[in-house]
Amino acid sequence: MRKLLSVGVAAMLVAPLACAREAGGDPQRPLRVQVSGEPEETKVYRTMVAAFEKDNQDIDIDLIEVPEKDEHLAKLTTAFAGEDPPEVFLVNFREYAQFVVRGAIEPYEGFLEANEVDLANYFPQPLEAFTFDGRLQCMPQNISSLVVYFNEKLFRQAGIPRPRAGWTWDQFADVARALTKGDVDGLGIEPSIIRLAPFIWSNGGDIVDDLEAPTRFTFDDPAAREAIEFIVSLVRDEGVVPTEEEVAAQDLETRFVTGKLGMFLSSRRDTPVLREVLGLEWDVAPLPVAEEPAGLLHSDAYCLSAGGDPDRLDAAARFIAFATGQQGQTITALGGRTVPSLKSVARSGAFLDPTQPPAHPEVFLQGIPFIRRTPVISTWPEIEDVAEEILTRAFYEDDYSVDRAIEELEAATTPLFEEAAGR
């Protein structure tokens, strides 16, 4: 007993977690690049890594593929806490906040010159989003806005023309109503901040009081409230959106694929799946507009882990330059899942492939000038989770009013905003 106790006490004294960082260890070790996604998705990264290794015989890359976002984050957290993170990790813009705020990221800005990266070739919106403390932190590989995927066949049958840029909310609602019949629903939309935000912005409202230093949600603002009420009424009063049970039975994507959904809102990520469905006629259209067009940034970027060995950092930066450069982005764009952040690739056949749906891929590009983003604060993922639960109730529970949702959202998230501001 006593022996065991003394071992434990010794361990506490050594407190291995707090001790000084050791430099990266064996320089010959392969660089580790951690990405997440389903097998089909990570296959694209594998191809890209292979291409990089072929061009750079001196650099060996271990691609770490993690199936789900939760496990991706768990693995990253453990690795950071254990002070042995992968040199490069791919992270979604909205998840990236917790890393950058806590200083986990080595700003990529310092490596631009050495790798001859000219930022002018990239769309500015994702660059701005991944800029923190005045420095570019991570290198975005893609930029997608929220678009309306629609089933052309169902549109034809209902005699509805394809939506044009600048269509109004009323037209949007009309189309949704017209499409809804039998087991077909007009519109698919999830109860989440990232789906509602473009509508709030489009209506002249905002989601937080200060994008750089937010202290609260501003959903009680009339413009924001009106936008939320508009969507909620489509779900609850109009019944043009699948019920909660229906969505659980079959997610929006599958409902769309099986012809049970006329339209649904999503980023570019659904494109590869839809392409594989034989006989499905579909295309994309821009979001409807109330006062001004607005979109929400969907972007993933390659980040360098802070504190690594300088030589390895250089090699890792080289990989990032390749992955986000012409060749790398072409490979990922061919995968179909990304809208390239590099303008030249976005305008190339790799992205605008006329042989594959959607027939109007330029819709993704046309939305880019109006893209806005969510705040970069450490507690953002948790805020989104909390909001999703409350919005789910507002969407699907009859006795749960929008007012109540807004009130509870504020109560539940304000401490999280405060916590983030305290850092």
């Binding site: 434990g8 939760d70 768990a74 957290t77 806490a81 986990a104 948790e382 109730r393």
Partner: protein
Amino acid sequence: MNRTGFLAWPFLAGVAALVAVPALAAATLAFTEFSGVQPPRFTGLDNFSRLVADNALWRSFGNTVIYIAIAVPLRLAAAVGAALLLNRHRAASTAARPLVYLPTVVPDVAYALLWLWLLNPLYGPLAAAFGFSGTLTDPWGARVSLAVMGAFQIGEAFIVALAVRRSIPRHVYEAAAVDGAGPWFTLSRLTLPLMAPVLALLALRDVILSLQVNFVPALLLTDGGPRYATTYVPLYVYRTAFRYFRLGYASTIALTMFVITALVVYVQYRLAKRWRLAA
């Protein structure tokens, strides 16, 4: 300790290295703020005051208690029922025994995938056979589904119950038969009371597992939903630590749950002792 004591040293060394030392290190984290990225910062008892006011935690705790209330009796009843039914030397029993154990050796992930299929409201056999739908979208449906799913993986409890049942001397049953005790009377006055101490241990083990370990099914099947109905404490700890980067606070919760578990165990132990049935 007598001369054989040294044979326990490899095990004790393993426990020290893999549990004791890491647990002590984790316990110290409970008094810090630690995001995993920056070094831990000592914050005294702040995490504990946060814990008291953490509604999401207590909701998870409530979910866990609900899970325990449904799953533990269900699992116990299934294990004991199977053990009592299959304890005799009969060809059918001999054949059925391994079948009862079989779902237990199915790896968690494969098992979760299987149930996702079974419960799929559109493609799943259960939906097709019984018209189930929305089992996993309804909070109670999801809670019950996870409990039922757990009730198939009772192999270890089944084995223990079977062994205990077989350790009851045959003469005692013969005496009861001569005394004119019917099947129900024998079960309720003889078999179950005689198995009670071990059943209590099995229940205790299940409670511990529910409080501490059992989160893979919830993670894979429902991801804690719907409406947090299946966010159990272990899953909440997992989220807090690895999704929200609050490793210090997660340690605080883990430490608190450890203390609660230890209290539950202690109380159960005292109760068992009071019954004078503890082995």
